[in-house]
């Protein structure tokens, strides 16, 4: 932040707490139907359909991992072919310099290693992690979001953001509690 630390708390969003996944799912759908777009939902377990409900889809991971795997395969094969032909042409037990069947295991393992590493790293990267600090943690309800509470949040950047309207909207859907979260930090 170039303009220095802004200490005045800014609104982050309105957070509603639900007791079970079904209520959250329903509330989310309704929120989206109500025209809100900057929605996020937090749950202790993956809730089927929630992603659709907040209108989110991202399948980049699969393709990127595939790319990484391919890179691994080529790297593995390339390493073996390069070292056994260009670098030092060892005569080994009468085998050809490029012994493809014998090069397969390393190629294979490299593919897997690269894919697995990419899957993990990319999962965190796409999720924007690590992020130990996050404004949403300022919400009291988030205390149990990793245990047994289901949280819906409409963030302040939503064009239709209106704290009071949202509070009543959430209460209307049977939220256990609703609070508006403020943050003094950017995130």
């Amino acid at each position: 932040m170039s303009h220095g630390r802004d200490t005045a708390p800014k609104p982050f969003g309105v957070v509603a707490e639900f007791l079970d996944a079904e209520s959250l799912l329903e509330a989310t759908r309704k929120t989206r139907e109500a025209g809100y777009r900057a929605i996020d939902a937090f749950s202790p377990v993956p809730v089927h359909g929630l992603t659709d409900a907040i209108g989110f889809d991202d399948s980049r991971l699969s393709w990127q991992v595939f790319g990484a795997g391919l890179t691994g395969a080529l790297a593995g094969l390339g390493l073996q072919v390069w070292t056994s032909t260009a670098v030092y042409r060892h005569l080994v037990g009468g085998k050809p310099f490029i012994s493809l069947p014998m090069f397969f295991p390393v190629l294979y393992e490299c593919t897997i290693l690269f894919s697995a590493g990419a899957a993990t790293v990319l999962m965190f990267k796409l999720n924007g992690l690590p992020k130990p600090h996050h404004p949403v943690f300022n919400a009291k309800a988030m205390d149990r979001a990793s245990s047994d509470r289901y949280i819906l949040c409409v963030e302040a950047e939503d064009p239709n953001y209106d704290e009071e309207a949202l509070t009543s909207f959430f209460h209307g859907m049977g939220a256990e509690s609703v609070e508006s979260v403020r943050t003094s930090e950017g995130y």
């Binding site: 030092y88 690590p130 130990p132 943690f137 009291k140 979001a145």
Partner: protein, 250 residues
């Protein structure tokens, strides 16, 4: 409150993750840089000697043949370091009072050997034979650096295995035949010393000859690379065999 961390933690966490991932790479790079550096290889590090012998003076300025002192370089595995009496051949006549030669005189008087500090040391488990290299026309300076320009001597090359292999892979770049060799007047071995002789007597050398004599990196014109290949064929140098492990390790 679930908010456990300050906002700065985000940056710290990300940076530490990247740093953690970088540690092995940095360690590897540091290690390999150190290994390849003169700190480890002792390349380019002039070594103090009991008597400050100058190859530049003797070999280049005075033009003394290498073999005058390194007498067994053509026939033995070891080039040989001269006995004190070889030094005294001249130095009983000239520079007889030079303080630089104190150690040599003392050795001669007492009959105890000089203890030179070793400059060029082939790694353990390597069998190196000077005679075959010299007989094939490999210039001394190719491996020892421009010794004829050194005041105190240092190790001119790293003597790493990968360095040896450069030539054993394809010696054509390091082989070259002057007209004299081609016409059969001198042997490839003589060419080595002939070039030094020409160099110190100020005779004009061609670009390639100069490079060979100086042990400079071989920027050989393509014609001469072909000449090198031809020379290899002529001398029956068999490249496939040269890279066999047993050539140097047994």
């Amino acid at each position: 409150m679930p908010q456990t961390f300050k906002p700065a933690a985000n940056t710290i966490a990300t940076v530490s993750l990247f740093a953690g991932a970088a540690v092995p790479f940095i360690a590897f790079l540091t290690g390999s840089t150190m290994t390849n550096s003169p700190y480890n290889t002792k390349q380019f590090v002039p070594i103090d000697q009991p008597a400050p012998f100058s190859h530049k003076h003797h070999a280049y300025e005075l033009g003394i043949d290498c073999r005058f002192c390194h007498a067994t370089v053509e026939e033995g595995a070891v080039a040989g370091v001269p006995a004190t009496e070889v030094c005294m051949t001249c130095h009983s006549q000239i520079w007889t009072n030079s303080p630089n030669l104190e150690a040599v005189r003392k050795s001669c008087e007492t009959g105890t050997s000089l203890q030179w500090n070793k400059v060029n040391h082939v790694p353990d488990f390597v069998y190196f034979n000077h005679s075959i290299h010299v007989n094939r026309g490999i210039s001394c300076n190719n491996c020892h650096g421009a010794v004829n320009k050194m005041e105190l001597t240092w190790k001119g090359q790293s003597f790493k295995m990968s360095w040896c292999l450069q030539c054993h892979e394809d010696p054509s770049k390091y082989l070259f035949e002057t007209e004299a060799v081609k016409s059969g007047t001198i042997s490839p071995r003589e060419q080595v010393f002939d070039l030094y002789r020409k160099l110190s007597s100020g005779k004009k050398l061609t670009e390639v000859e100069y490079q060979l004599a100086e042990g400079l990196p071989q920027v050989v014109p393509s014609d001469d690379v072909h000449a090198g290949v031809a020379a290899m064929k002529e001398r029956g140098i068999n490249v496939t065999q040269l890279k066999d492990c047993y050539v140097c390790h047994h």
